[in-house]
Structures are given as C-alpha cells and as structure tokens.
C-alpha cells in the first residue's frame, strides 16, 4: 500500500484522499443461525471510491445494508465521521448524509423523474408541516431553490429529455441513472451504490462509469460500491474489499487484490490436489 496513514494518501492518478470517513469494526450479521457476515472490519476514506466485491452470496449486499441501516448487525461497531453510530433506522441514516441506490432499483414508479429526484432533497427541506400545508412563508421559495439544484443534477446526468416522464415507463438503464440522480440530490457525504452496472450493456456501463468518476471528481463525494464485474471495479476504484462466504479475504488497491492468492482462489476455484 502506498503512503497510507491516518492522514490519507494520494492515488495513482494524483487525487488526495482524506482521513477515515466510515469505519466498520468487527461486524457480524446473522439471520437466525446463518451468518451472512462474519467479523469484518474495513474503513472508507474521505473522497475515495471504495469497492466491495465477491462472488454470489458473499454477503456484499448485506454489508451495504448494514452501512445504510437496513440491517442491524448483532456484533461490531459502525463509526461515521468519528462518532460511533448506534442502531439506527434507515431513514435516520439517510439524514446523516448517506444516500444509496438499490440492486433491483427502488424508484417511485408512479411519479415523474423530476418528482423522484426531488424526493432526494426531502431531508434538506426545512419548512415545517404548517408552512407547507398553507404554502406560505418559506415553503414556496424553498421549493424553487431545491428545483434549481435538481435541474443541475438532471443536466449533469444528461436526463433532461425525460424530466416529466413517469419513471415506470423508462427502460432499465435510464432507471438506474434516475436512481443515481435521486441519491445525488441529497448531496450525500457518502454514496452507496449496489451493483450500479448490473444488467447493463457495454455502452450503458461506460456511461455509468463516467458518471461515477465525475461525481467523485466534481462533488468530492465518497463512494462505496458493490460490483460483480471485476474489470469495471478494477478500473474504477481506489481500494477494494474482497468478501467470500461472509468473510473478508482481501483488502487493498486493485493491483494488490488482483495478485492476492485467496482472491484468485475465490474467483477461479481451488484445485484440490
């Protein structure tokens, strides 16, 4: 590992990565008697693109769900911005500045693209119930301000033409992009992407890669992503955690991970001789 310490490090392409933003300490998650995650620790640093990879059923999605509060681990600690996070509901985690997308896309199908993205800003809207109900005071001005921010994200992700379309009518690739837009609208400190390229064709994958890099570059957003596709992950991420059967078998830069014998075994199988 390059000059890696608590102060951060510099990536191969010259980006400065900061200190620890999120730290998972000895996380164990069980469903009944089945352990989905066993004693895993790793950190995510400010400004980096961190990937979690592993074969099917390795527990990657479970780990993402622990980070986003959908699952509460039986053992271990989650630290965010230097504070230990107690057991939290997913909506409380979202309000801390952790936004996410889903593997199977969870959008509001009946609502327009614009409205979907606007929901991303709900936690940032301050005016109260009464003001909203009466549509007086700050409510109207606030709506306009947030609309402007959302329009910028729409431009950024190049989805201007489908602004008013109900999400249910969009093809898969665009839905994935709208979901990313909604997560970005929350101006998250940490963005979690659950298989952002799953089911996409080559062209869509390239677009998604570009957007992920641009988001990281332009907004300085820290990104943690889960991916199946090794090639994509290696090109995209600064550091990679490798999981297999709920355990961590590798952690480091893409090059380090690629040459790790345990990782090679997990992906290619061990010869029994």
């Amino acid at each position: 590992m390059k000059d890696m310490n608590s102060e951060g490090y510099t990536t191969a392409d010259g980006r400065k990565i900061g200190g620890v933003l999120m730290e998972m300490k000895n996380i164990t998650l069980r469903f009944g008697g089945v352990a989905a995650i066993t004693d895993i620790s790793f950190d995510i640093r400010d400004g980096e693109i961190r990937a979690i990879i592993g074969p099917n059923g390795a527990g990657k999605s479970s780990m993402l769900n622990v980070i986003s509060g959908f699952y509460v681990p039986q053992e271990g600690e989650v630290w965010f911005k230097g504070y230990k996070r107690g057991p939290m509901k997913p909506y409380q985690v979202a309000r801390l500045g952790i936004a996410r997308t889903f593997q199977n896309i969870a959008l509001f199908d009946g609502m327009s693209v614009l409205d979907n993205i606007m929901t991303g800003r709900l936690t940032l809207m301050k005016s109260g119930l009464l003001s909203q109900a009466m549509w007086w005071g700050g409510a109207q001005r606030e709506e306009t301000e947030h609309r402007e921010k959302v329009e910028k994200i729409i431009d950024f992700l190049e989805i201007q033409s489908i602004r008013k379309t109900p999400v249910g009518r969009l093809p898969y690739g665009l839905k994935k992009r709208v979901e990313l837009a909604r997560a970005l609208a929350a101006e998250p400190k940490l963005l979690l992407l659950d298989e952002p390229m799953a089911g996409m064709n080559v062209e869509e994958k390239e677009d998604m890669c570009r957007f992920i890099l641009d988001v990281n570059d332009e907004f300085g957003t820290t990104i943690a992503l889960i991916e199946h596709d090794m090639g994509v992950v290696m090109d995209l991420s600064d550091r990679v955690v490798v999981m297999d059967y709920g355990k961590k078998i590798g952690d480091g830069t893409p090059d380090e991970v690629r040459s790790n014998p345990d990782v090679i075994n997990a992906y290619l199988g061990v010869s029994h001789d």
Binding site: S68, K89, F102, D109, Q132
Partner: protein, 328 residues
C-alpha cells in the same frame, strides 16, 4: 314543462347531493389507500367516532360515564357545560390526531411489511373496536348534532327555479354546504399532495417503502400524518352526516356505500372519489325513480353495487385510477 321531467330533475339534484355525502366518506378511504395500500375498513367507523366525540364535547358529556357509574356507584352524566361548536370541532380534530398516533403505535407499527390482506383484517378489527369504544365512551343512543350549519330548503334556489320552470325545486341548505366543503377538501388535498414536500413524501411512501426509507422519509411519521388527515376528513363526513340524519351507529354502514363509489372512481384518485360519488348518488336515485316502480322498488340497496360491478368488468382501475403499467 311536464311534471314528470321536473320531478326527474329534482330527483337528479337530490341524487347529486346524496352523492356528495358518499364522496366525503370515500375520500378518507382514498387517502389511506393511496399512502399505504391499505383498504381501511374502519373509515366509516372513524366518521361515526368523530361525530360521537364531537357531540360529546359539545354537550359536555362525561366520557365512559356508564362505566364509571357502574364501578364507583356515582351518577355522572354531564359536566354541565356547553362548548361552542368551533371549540368542540378543534378538540375533536385533536382527538382524531391522537387516535392516528395510537393506531400507528399499537397496530400499524407491528404489521410493517405484512401482506395487504393482513392489514385489511387489522382494520376490520379496528372498526369493531372503535365502534365498541364509541359506545362505551359516549353511549349508544341516537344523538342530535347541531354545529350551526344552515338547514332546510334553500329559498333563493326555489324562487329562481320557480320563475324559470314555474316549479320550485327543493334543495337543502345543508347539502349546499356539504358540496362546498367537499370541493374545498378535494382542492386542498390535491394541492397538498402535489406541491408540498410532505405530499411528495406521502406519494413516495405509497409507491415504495424501501426507496422512501433510503431518501430519509420516516414511515411512522407519514402514517401518523395520513391517518390524521383521514381522521379529520372522517370528522367532516361525520359532521355532515350527523347534521343530516343524527349521530347513530348505522352511520358506520355508510362506509359500505363508499365501496361502489371507490370502484367507480378508482381507489387512488381523489377527484375520482367525488365523481364516483356523484354518479352513484345520481344513478341510484334516477334508477329508483324510473325503474323502481316497474320492478317493485328498493333498488337503492343494490343498484350501486351492480353499477360498480359493471365498471370492474370494463375498467378495473376505475374512472380515474392509475392505469397499471407493467414492463415485461
């Protein structure tokens, strides 16, 4: 103009007004269904409960008087005051909000992620629980509700129609008030759900729970909010029905008339609840007027359901319901 046509006009008018009353109940159903996918069987009982509570507050009735007297051997009935209608209405609205919180805390919270049929069953239980609670709290007798709404024939309308047709048509002032109130309710609810952040959060929760959580929406808050709104809509319906025909336990059966209204208008459409109500109200009165004598009358009991059934066959999502888009 022949008497027959004039009479038909009056029947139509009457039907429309009855329809407005159905719509008021149907609105509450739509709100909860939209936000949580639950068909709230207890909506009619909510209206009854609200009306009972309102009368109780107005007359200074002691809640649970019968129970208290039976246990402690006292003879309490009334506090001996009469609250002004406005104060009583505000207090009742607060009770409906409180009730929403209790329902969320003790029922809905424990049924998160259950199938809709389970939640439906829970609301049936809730309906009978509330009916019993209303009985124990306020007594089972029929009560008169008067919050100062105008009642009786509208003379201006009678005079105008008299000069035009040579026959004064009858319309009740209370029905006019109900129509205005229903229109205002629909307008404000539509604006609220389309243009405010809470409205957007409400629609988001209705669409996808997981996604709503991930953008920081608290499901519990939204459920309390939507049940509170439904409770207040029930209060409005309770006031109108109670003023018209007294507060009695058969009020909860009106809920069943809201069913065909919903099938017609669509379970997810607020304007649909109004238009559906008008069609059902007018349809059943006109059908009774024209076909009733031929087939022995009492058609009002079943006509609405048959009409709704026809709609289900040809347009399952109702007049205004969201067409189900399914990409394969």
């Amino acid at each position: 103009m022949s008497d027959q046509i004039l009479f038909a006009m009056e029947v139509t008018l009457n039907g429309l007004m009855a329809g407005v009353m159905y719509s008021l109940v149907a609105l509450g159903f739509v709100l909860i269904f939209k936000a949580s996918g639950i068909f709230n069987y207890a909506q009619g009982v909510l209206a009854l409960f609200a009306a009972l509570t309102l009368v109780g507050f107005q007359n200074g009735q002691v809640p649970f008087a019968h129970l208290i007297n039976a246990i402690f051997g006292t003879n309490l009935h009334h506090f001996g005051w009469h609250l002004p209608a406005v104060v009583a209405i505000i207090l009742t609205a607060a009770v409906m909000v409180l009730l929403a919180m209790i329902v969320e805390k003790f029922v809905l919270q424990h049924l998160v992620n259950q199938a809709p049929i389970i939640l439906f069953m829970a609301t049936i239980g809730l309906a009978y629980f509330l009916e019993g609670l209303g009985d124990i709290m306020w007594g089972a007798d029929i009560k008169k509700l008067d919050v100062g709404l105008p009642q009786g024939a509208n003379e201006a309308f009678e005079a105008v129609t008299d000069s035009v047709f040579g026959f004064g048509l009858y319309i009740d002032n209370l029905d006019i008030v109900a129509t205005v109130v229903a229109a205002l309710l629909v307008l404000s609810l539509t604006l609220f759900s389309q243009y405010t952040k809470y409205g957007r959060a409400l629609r988001a929760v209705a669409d996808d729970h997981q996604a709503a959580l991930s953008v920081g929406i608290s499901l519990r808050f939204i459920w309390v909010l939507v049940w509170s709104i439904a409770g207040i809509v029930a209060l409005v319906a309770g006031i109108m029905w109670g003023s018209k025909s007294g507060v009695q336990f058969s009020l909860s059966l009106i809920a069943l008339k809201a069913l065909p209204v919903l099938m017609l208008g669509g379970f997810t459409s607020i304007p649909g609840a109004i238009v559906g109500g008008l069609i059902i109200g007018m349809g059943e009165k006109l059908f009774e007027f024209f076909a009733g004598p031929l087939i022995g009358g009492a058609t009002e009991n079943w006509f609405a359901y048959v009409l709704a059934l026809l709609f289900l066959v040809f347009r399952p999502q109702g007049l205004f319901g969201e067409k189900i888009i399914e990409r394969v």
